[in-house]
């Protein structure tokens, strides 16, 4: 059962997979051990438990409806109440002598730090973005260097998010081939998988800002190869025709919503669906929330310097390095174009200096 859940989490991340909410000791924690908070996505908790082997700490698993921290924070399943509730009801206050919580910074779009502090009386610190960095973060007295604050999209992450979100589409096309082109099913299974690995590996080096442009660039190359082969071989003897056509179909499928998978790119599919009036599928919303209003360009990220109190919440939390600090210690845009509309800075800003506003 546990293995099935792991497999489900790996291949069908579009569908939630919850695990039990509450307190989990890692190693042999005592009254001075740190308290970390995470979501109740089964795979997240399993991976954390593995990466934290050898540490002694308390892990508080908060309600996120079985969705990973970032998606759940953006979709409002992982919110201030998730954290407040697990802190107050799990009995952690009786187990430790300190009152410091370490929160996952990718939870910032949903979990308002100042509100958690107000409602629980605990002090909140942001941990590192990557679970791999937690041991180093704890060893270094909870100090975060720049890489601990930023998301990246390296090969391992591309394969992980790609596999977990694109596998259902791979399966769907397998079904199509099984039903209508069964002679080509094996070719599809091999070529479909190879195109996935090739495309996801090459993503950073492909031209274009969006997944679909990158995919169409590859398709253009493949089309050129196909036509060349058709030209130099007899019209019926091109040995790679099926393979090339399959790759040309599948690569745009993989590339279409690369922005939604990539931690460093904004989603393309969400505004596309919103434009056609699709407001939500299940509980995934494409319109009406601050995040989608920004993605759809109905609103833009707006900063009012007069209201800034210089608390640095925004620059601490932005996973893309959009915010910096000016010489008067107030916030300033340093890389606005990198914004992926996660809304972490808007949620955290205690003085409403950062908002989403209709462009004037």
């Amino acid at each position: 059962m546990s293995f099935l859940k792991t497999l489900w989490g790996l291949l069908f991340r579009l569908f939630p997979c919850p695990t039990k909410v509450g307190l989990r000791p890692i190693g042999n924690p005592g009254p001075d051990s740190p308290v970390l908070v995470t979501c109740n996505f089964d795979l997240t908790v399993k991976r954390l438990s593995r990466l934290l082997q050898g540490q002694d700490l308390w892990l508080l698993v908060g309600e996120s409806k079985g969705v990973n921290v970032w998606c759940a924070a953006g979709g409002e399943e992982f919110n201030t109440h998730s954290v407040v509730s697990v802190v107050k009801t799990s009995g952690i206050a009786d187990k430790v002598s300190h009152r410091t919580l370490i929160l996952p910074p990718l939870g910032a779009p949903g979990v308002k730090k100042s509100e958690v502090e107000k409602q629980t009386g605990w002090k909140v610190k942001w941990g590192p973005v990557w679970a791999e960095d937690i041991p180093r973060y704890l060893a270094d007295n909870c100090k975060r260097d720049e890489p601990m604050k930023r998301v990246t999209y390296n090969l391992k992450e591309r394969l992980d998010t790609g596999l977990s979100c694109l596998f259902p589409f791979y399966l769907f096309f397998a079904l199509v081939f099984f039903l209508f082109f069964s002679t080509q099913l094996t070719t599809y299974l091999v070529v479909g998988a190879l195109s996935f690995f090739a495309f996801m590996s090459l993503v950073p080096w492909l031209p274009g800002e969006r997944g679909i442009t990158k995919a169409l660039f590859v398709d253009a190359l493949l089309l050129a190869i196909l036509l060349t082969l058709e030209f130099i071989t007899d019209s019926d003897a091109n040995p790679f025709r099926a393979q090339l056509v399959i790759a040309m179909i599948m690569i745009p499928v993989y590339g279409l919503e690369l922005g939604g998978l990539a931690s460093t790119m904004p989603s393309d599919l969400d505004p596309f669906l919103a434009r056609f009036g699709v407001k939500a599928i299940g509980n995934v919303e494409f319109a009406g929330t601050t995040r989608t209003e920004l993605l759809n360009r109905f609103k833009i990220l707006t900063y009012d310097r007069e209201k800034c109190i210089g608390c640095r919440s925004c620059s601490e939390i932005c996973p893309q390095g959009v915010w910096g600090i000016d010489e008067e210690k107030r916030a300033m845009f340093v890389n606005k174009d990198a914004c992926t509309a996660c809304v972490g800075c808007i949620t955290q800003c205690p003085s409403a200096a950062i908002t989403a506003k209709k462009p004037s």
């Binding site: 909410v21 509450g22 407040v84 697990v86 107050k88 009801t89 799990s90 995934v284």
Partner: protein, 221 residues
Amino acid sequence: MFSYVFMKILEMRPRSYDQQMDKISRGRVRAAKEAVAGEVPKGSHVLEIGCGTGELAGLMIQRDATVEGFDLSPSMIQTAKERIETENLSDKFSVSQMGVDGMDRFRDEQFDAIVSTLVFSELSDDERRFALKQAKRILKPGGIIIIADEVVPKTFFRKILHTVIRLPMLAVTYLVSSSSTRPIPDLSGELARAGFSIQKEIRSHGDSFAMTVGIKEKGEK
């Protein structure tokens, strides 16, 4: 009562929630709420955990109760506020938006009765334990707690039957709302462990639904 899992879908549209819940349960939800209201002594000061749109509160107010309700869902609270406005209930019914973790804000021995329908099956084990501990503290001695909810049937055969019938509904709900409810394994046991004396437990619908009434004995803290 298997179809309660569909509740997660209906919660997405609070305004038609009560009506639709009644439809999918073929009137049983309304009946369950009437049964709960019937257990509340006349003129009580009642706390409702998860008051939703205020349907049960309305039934209790008809029996001269004053009700304080809370619910985690802002849209449910909004709908309840509209009910208070249109039915002119402001001196009988007040609501706030919070979860059970906020129950520590109530004073000791403040309420004559605490009621909750179809909420405990959505809470975590810790939240249920916390809510019952707080309930014990804020009830007056002799006060009662009434919980009506989805439960796991007691016998092996019923358990299997319950799972088999519920599974397809669970799947549909999961696909639409990406969530579900969790029938409570041992409701009266949890109440007893929190220090309540179980007055009665009425199980119905293939043993998958229970209304449990506990009492805080006089002299208990």
